[in-house]
Every structure is written in structure tokens, then in C-alpha cells.
């Protein structure tokens, strides 16, 4: 691979992977906080408001990290992928600007009110501020998914003689079936991160025997939402996504599964190490005929292998694709088991006293992050060698005048800066966790309440 192409790909891959650590918690936690606020409104029990305030603090730190690492993403389309932006700007410029216009203004207006304006608003008003922030973050996710879905599965476009893409249907672009499936799958993933974070904190406090009332509230809300999200992550959303991919990106599916040759009654490889050179899988642990069954509903159906496609159209990094997909799917299965067991114990009224289960929940906390990142890697590594699937290759899209040295220079800059952000984030969040959901005054921004006007 050309040096500059590799650098530009690493640049985007690094910045977007780091960025997505934060929005997944923002989008996953926001609905849980809204649920806590709703319970406060309905039961009038201050416990729920205390719980919501505690999570709002963590949410605030997480949110600002998402904002500052998100701005570079929009710029990088132009800085590092200029030819791609020029050719496809008529299409994907649209969801990107819609994100700014419809969700960033909404989020930025209400975040301050939600985090610091509690005693300036009525209880209902504060609930609405939280709801607006939640809606903004979910809308933002939708527009980004629409952008990515068009690159995965281009619809509603024409291409002019000079190669430029243009939208032919506004709704066709927004309601791209790939986008709807991917959005559902992605948002379940975010909810899994959010619910494991909340459940993990609850388990931690119970094991420490601190803040036990709040910890029980965290666990109740997080386990109920978590079990639903974990199940829906696999069925129907993951299942639909897999079938849709097999139909529209068969080479990607073959790469994900490590299926080098077309087979009737193809097996699922559960573990193994793909060797793209000699086209085989070392040390395979297989489930016979399962792949045919999962994709086509029958054990004998034929599944296309990589041999059906010219090598130039193969995903460029088959081992990485294979591992990302297997890590995602393996962890997804584990999450269902953990959350189902937790939900069962919650239903039997034994969750809060079952220490081994609390330990498992606590130790699971980092894994949804890995699963979400691995899922995105599956989608984006699997799209290769295409930038716009089947239409524009990744090697045609980068900024030709920005040489590899420039790109490495700024990549190193981002690495240094993001290392600082990671340390700050962990420090601040662990500090908030250590302090716990203590009773305190609602914080206030302070600007111009009627009482302080001079």
C-alpha cells in the first residue's frame, strides 16, 4: 500500500476509534438518566434524583470528551479525504450538515441547562432538558449512520459524467434500509455500554457496601434495559444486519467468516486463525452447517466464498476483519448470558445479595466498549477496498497533496493529545465514582438569575 494512503487510513482509524469511546456511553447513558428522572417524577422519591445527578456528572465529563474529539471527524473528510469529499459531497454533505443543524444545536442548548440549571427549572422543565439532550445525541447518531450506510450501501444517487455523485431522493437517502438496520444495531450496542456502566457501578457499590440504596436503583434500571438491549442486539438487529450484508456485500461476509471457498452447508468457524496467504484457517473450532442456516435459514444452502471474487475486491485485511467480527459476536453472546442471569436473579429478588453475580457484572464493564469498537471495525474494515461500496476505491479518495509525512505529523499530534484526554477522563470519572452519589446541592451555572441582576 502507498505510504500516504496508509497514513490517511491510520489517521482516520485512530481518531474515530478514540472518538467512539465517548458517544457510545453518551447515547447509552442518556436514556437511562431520562428513565431515572422519570422515576423521580413518578415516585417523588429523591433517591432517583440523586442517582440521576450522579450519572449526569459522569455524563458531563464524557460528553465534553465526545464533543472535542468529534469536531476533528467532520474536518477530516476535507483535510485527509479531499477527493472523496469532492466526489461525494453532494450526497454525504447532507446528513453531515443535518447533524450540525438538527442535533448539535439542540444538544448544546440544553446540555448546560441539564447539567447546571436544575434549580433554575421546574422538575418537569429539568426532565425536558434531559430528554432534549438524549434526543439530540440519538439524532446525531442517526445522521452519522446515514452517512456511513451510504458508503456501505449507496442508494438514491446519480453520478454525473465528471464522476460527481448527487442525491436523487432526500427520503431515499435518509431511509436507506442499510441505515435503519445499522442504526438499530448500533443503538442497542450503545445501550449495552450504558447499561453495563450503570450496572457495573451498582455492583461496585454493593460489593463495597456503600450507597446501597442508589446501587440497587442503578442495577434495577440497568439490568432491565440491558437484558432487552443485549437480546435485541443479536435478534432481530444483528441477524438482519448479517443477512443484509450477505446479500449486498458477499465478499465482506466471506471475509468475516473466513470462508475462502464456496460451500453448500457452510460451517461457522467459532475460533481460529485465518491465513490469507494459503487461504485456510488454522486450529478451527467449527459449528457444522451453521453459517448456511444463519444466512439462509436452511442447513444446505450455498454460501459464496472469497474464491468467487477477484482478489482485488477482497477485503484488504482479512485476519483483522475476521477477529473484529468474532470479538464482537463472541462478546455479544456473553452479554446476553450475563444480563439474562442478572435479570433472572433480579426477578427472584436475589441479585443484590448474590456476590459472585455482582463480581461478574463489575468485571464485564470494559467489554461493551471493546465489542462496540470491534463492531465498527468489522463494518469499516469489511467495506475495504471500497470507500463507497462497489463505486469508489479507498485508494482514490485521499488528499493527494497531503503527503505521508504531513499525515504522520498530525497523527502523532492527535495521539499525544488523546493520551492526555484519556488520562484526564479516567482520572475524573474514577474520582466521581470514588466520591459516589452523595447528597449535595444542585449545581448552577450562575449567570443572571433574576435574584442576582443588579
Amino acid at each position: 500500500m502507498d505510504d500516504a494512503l496508509l497514513m490517511h487510513r491510520l489517521h482516520f482509524a485512530f481518531t474515530v476509534t478514540f472518538h467512539y469511546l465517548f458517544p457510545q456511553l453518551t447515547m447509552g447513558l442518556a436514556p437511562l438518566i431520562v428513565i431515572l428522572k422519570t422515576m423521580y417524577l413518578r415516585t417523588d422519591n429523591a433517591l432517583y434524583n440523586r442517582a440521576a445527578r450522579f450519572w449526569a456528572k459522569i455524563f458531563g465529563v464524557n460528553f465534553i470528551m465526545g464533543v472535542v474529539t468529534g469536531i476533528p471527524m467532520e474536518f477530516q473528510f476535507g483535510t485527509n479525504w479531499a477527493q472523496f469529499s469532492r466526489v461525494t459531497g453532494g450526497v454525504i454533505g447532507q446528513p453531515l450538515v443535518m447533524e450540525g443543524v438538527f442535533s448539535f444545536f439542540l444538544e448544546s442548548a440544553f446540555l448546560g441547562l441539564f447539567l447546571y440549571g436544575e434549580h433554575r427549572l421546574s422538575r418537569i422543565g429539568h426532565w425536558w432538558a434531559g430528554f432534549a439532550v438524549c434526543a439530540g445525541s440519538w439524532l446525531s447518531g442517526f445522521f452519522i449512520i446515514v452517512t456511513d450506510a451510504w458508503m456501505q450501501h449507496p442508494v438514491a444517487y446519480t453520478r454525473a459524467a465528471d464522476g460527481m455523485f448527487q442525491v436523487t431522493s432526500f427520503w431515499g437517502l435518509l431511509l436507506n434500509p442499510w441505515a435503519l438496520i445499522q442504526y438499530a444495531h448500533n443503538m442497542c450496542g450503545a445501550l449495552i455500554t450504558g447499561s453495563f456502566a450503570m450496572a457495573g457501578a451498582g455492583a461496585y457499590y454493593l460489593l463495597e457496601n456503600k450507597f446501597t440504596e442508589e446501587a440497587r436503583a442503578f442495577l434495577r434500571v440497568a439490568v432491565v434495559v440491558g437484558v432487552l438491549a443485549c437480546v435485541m442486539q443479536i435478534f432481530p438487529t444483528g441477524d438482519l444486519h448479517g443477512r443484509f450484508m450477505a446479500a449486498h456485500q458477499p465478499a465482506t461476509t466471506a471475509g468475516m467468516e473466513g470462508l475462502f471457498k464456496t460451500e453448500a452447508g457452510a460451517s461457522v468457524v467459532i475460533l481460529g486463525q485465518p491465513d490469507a496467504e494459503s487461504q485456510r484457517i488454522d486450529n478451527p473450532l467449527v459449528a457444522n452447517e451453521m453459517l448456511s442456516f444463519l444466512i439462509y435459514g436452511t442447513r444446505t444452502a450455498q454460501v459464496k466464498g472469497l474464491n468467487e471474487f477477484p482478489k482485488s475486491d477482497w477485503p484488504t485485511n482479512i485476519p483483522l476483519l475476521f477477529y473484529s467480527y468474532h470479538i464482537m459476536a463472541g462478546l455479544g453472546t456473553l452479554f446476553v448470558a450475563v444480563m439474562a442471569a442478572a435479570a433472572f436473579l433480579l426477578w427472584r429478588g436475589k441479585l443484590f445479595s448474590t456476590r459472585w453475580m455482582l463480581w461478574i457484572i463489575l468485571l464485564c464493564l470494559p467489554f461493551p466498549y471493546i465489542a462496540n469498537e470491534a463492531g465498527w471495525m468489522t463494518a469499516e474494515v469489511g467495506r475495504q477496498p471500497w470507500l463507497v461500496y462497489g463505486l469508489m476505491r479507498t485508494s482514490e479518495g485521499y488528499s493527494k497533496y497531503v503527503h505521508a509525512g504531513n499525515s504522520l505529523f498530525t497523527l502523532l499530534g492527535f495521539m499525544g493529545l488523546y493520551a492526555l484526554l484519556a488520562i484526564l477522563f479516567l482520572f475524573l470519572v474514577l474520582r466521581l465514582m470514588a466520591r459516589g452519589p452523595v447528597e449535595e446541592e444542585a449545581t448552577d451555572i450562575g449567570a443572571g438569575t433574576p435574584l442576582t441582576v443588579e
Binding site: T79, G93, T168
Partner: protein, 348 residues
């Protein structure tokens, strides 16, 4: 249709400069005007609830540019690669500076984040001014519509300039002073007592400097690109814009001396709007000018998106912006009035 989108992009950039301009300006003043930690906190609280929304105009404006004129977005963003990346780093430091400074009650922590916030704000104003200077001066566009500029070459305005030359540095200094003054006017409007007095004194001191710099930048611009007067010659009514720039400065002086804080702030908004409108009127229909061959200019006519996108875009864009304006009115009403000392806990 194309003129409409040119105006819409221009409006968004103007909105960005006017709104984020004052919080950048407050950032510039933050280390110099405020003397105690309490005053620093007060200054930050004047912009705390609104700075993030103000910055969204940059994202929405950049996005609108991408959507309506993809060629310009692609060419400009890749050509200004290095300064844009530095701007991104500064935006990151500034964002965490303002949002995380209250997390710890420690002088070292506060000092560090105050420094991030203030120094990043200061450098950003200079970079934004220099960016505008680059657009006005022109860049060495290649036949394929792209270019790449090093950060500096020999600091002269030639056919192969750098991002920074004497002209763009001048533009950066104009932006620094204009936004610091804008921030001082805003801070005077939102604070009382001693801090208010000092903000007003800074504003009174910066105003003559800005007047001189405005005249110098006007002269420099006409010296390096006399063709910028073409639109003005064809439509003499445009000469009212520089006239109004003068009026806005005079009004700022009168109102500032008379203690009309709101009036002075609005005059400062008007100054920024008029300077940008004057530039936009001069460069149209060019979006990016070539320093080597005018036939390579990127214009609204060769850089735009498809008809369908642009016409459907007017509908959802109008709807979305109406909502955004609604949020702005709501938030600014919510936080209207002067802020004063420590009234209980606060977020910023």
C-alpha cells in the same frame, strides 16, 4: 439558487464570528483582565452556558459549505491542512479548558486549565484571521482544483505564498484585536463592579488600535489585490459597507463612553458583520482565488452541489435553522442579565 447558498454559507460564518467571537474574546481577556481566580470564574460564567452552542455555528457552517460547495470544502480543507489541524488541537484544548477547570478545587489544576482556555482562545483568533487573509489573498490553485500550502515560505505575498505571510499575519492581528474588543464589550455587558470597569477600560484602549488596524488592513488588501474593487465599481451602492464600518466604530466609541453597554456590544457585532459582508461582497463569485491563473479560481459556479440537493436543502435547512434560532433565543433569555459574585455552587 447558487447566490442563495452563497449567502447562507456567508450568514453562518458571520453568525459564527459574531457569537463565538465574543467567547473567544473573553478567552483572550481571561488571563489579562481578570486579576483573581474569582474574577476569572466570573468571566467564564458569562460565557459558560453559551460557548458550546456558539461553536456549533462553526460545525454547521463548515457542514453547509461541504454540502453546498463540495469542491471548495475539499480543496480548501486539504490545502490548509496544517493550520486546520492546529486549529482542531486548539479547539480541543479550549473545550477541555473551559469545561474541566471547575472539576478540581486546586490552584494548579485551575491554573493549567485557565491557561489551556486562554492561550488556545488567543491563538484561535489569530488563526481564524489568518485563514480569512488567505482566502482574500488567494492560494496557488493547481489545474485539478487542489493546492497545498506550507505554514510559511518567505513571508512575502507572492504567487507561492505560505499560510503565514505579512498580509495574513496582519489579518490575524486584526482578528485578535477585533475579537478581544468584542469580548470586552460582551464582558462589560455581563459583569458589574470593578471587573466591568476594567473591561470597559480595555475596550476604550483597544478601539483606536482596531481603527488603525482596520485602515491598515484595507490599504494592504487593495495593495495586494486591486481586483477586489471590481464588484464595488460595478455596484457603487456597495461603498456604503465600508462607510458603515466607520459608523459602527464611531458608535462603539460614543456608546462605550456613554456607558451604554448593550449599545457598544451591538456596535461591535455590527463592525464584525460589516467587515465580513464587505469581504464577501468583494470576492463574489470567487470562493477561492488562484494566485497564479484566474481561470483556475474556484467559484460558486464550478464548486456547487446538484440542483436537487440544493433545492430540497433549502426546506430542511430553513426548518432546522428556525429551530436552532429558537434554542438560541431560549438559552440567551434564560441567562440574561448581569452575573455577580459567588451565589452557591456553579458549574463553570
Amino acid at each position: 439558487m447558487l447566490l442563495t447558498w452563497y449567502l447562507l454559507v456567508a450568514i453562518m460564518i458571520v453568525a459564527y464570528v459574531v457569537f463565538d467571537g465574543f467567547d473567544l474574546g473573553v478567552g483572550v481577556l481571561h488571563l489579562f483582565v481578570a486579576r483573581t481566580e474569582e474574577e476569572r470564574s466570573l468571566l467564564i460564567r458569562t460565557i459558560g452556558p453559551v460557548w458550546d452552542g456558539n461553536e456549533v455555528w462553526l460545525l454547521a457552517g463548515g457542514g453547509t459549505l461541504y454540502f453546498a460547495f463540495p469542491l471548495l470544502y475539499a480543496s480548501g480543507f486539504s490545502g490548509f491542512y496544517l493550520p486546520l489541524m492546529i486549529v482542531l488541537w486548539l479547539l480541543i484544548l479550549r473545550g477541555i479548558g473551559i469545561e474541566l477547570r471547575m472539576q478540581l478545587d486546586s490552584p494548579v489544576w485551575r491554573g493549567l486549565f485557565n491557561g489551556f482556555f486562554s492561550i488556545a482562545s488567543l491563538l484561535l483568533t489569530i488563526f481564524f484571521g489568518a485563514a480569512l487573509g488567505n482566502v482574500i489573498r488567494g492560494v496557488p490553485l493547481q489545474p485539478d482544483g487542489y493546492f497545498f500550502l506550507p505554514l510559511w515560505t518567505n513571508w512575502t505575498v507572492g504567487p507561492q505564498p505560505g499560510i503565514l505571510d505579512w498580509y495574513t499575519v496582519l489579518a490575524g492581528v486584526v482578528a485578535l484585536v477585533a475579537l478581544a474588543l468584542h469580548g470586552a464589550n460582551y464582558a462589560a455587558l455581563k459583569t458589574g463592579g470593578d471587573l466591568n470597569l476594567r473591561c470597559r477600560r480595555v475596550a476604550a484602549w483597544l478601539l483606536p488600535v482596531l481603527l488603525l488596524l482596520t485602515l491598515a488592513s484595507l490599504a494592504a488588501t487593495l495593495a495586494i489585490r486591486p481586483a477586489l474593487l471590481d464588484n464595488y465599481q460595478h455596484m457603487p451602492v456597495l461603498y456604503v459597507i465600508p462607510l458603515l464600518v466607520g459608523v459602527s466604530l464611531a458608535a462603539m466609541w460614543r456608546l462605550g463612553r456613554g456607558g451604554h453597554e448593550l449599545g457598544a456590544f451591538l456596535a461591535s457585532c455590527a463592525y464584525l458583520v460589516l467587515m465580513l459582508v464587505g469581504a464577501a461582497a468583494a470576492v463574489y463569485p470567487n470562493l477561492l482565488t488562484s494566485t497564479t491563473d484566474p481561470s483556475l479560481n474556484i467559484t460558486v459556479f464550478n464548486a456547487h452541489s446538484g440542483e436537487h440537493s440544493l433545492s430540497v436543502g433549502l426546506i430542511w435547512w430553513g426548518f432546522g435553522m428556525a429551530l436552532a434560532v429558537g434554542y438560541f433565543v431560549f438559552v440567551y433569555r434564560m441567562f440574561k442579565g448581569k452575573i455577580s459574585g459567588m451565589t452557591g455552587g456553579h458549574g463553570y
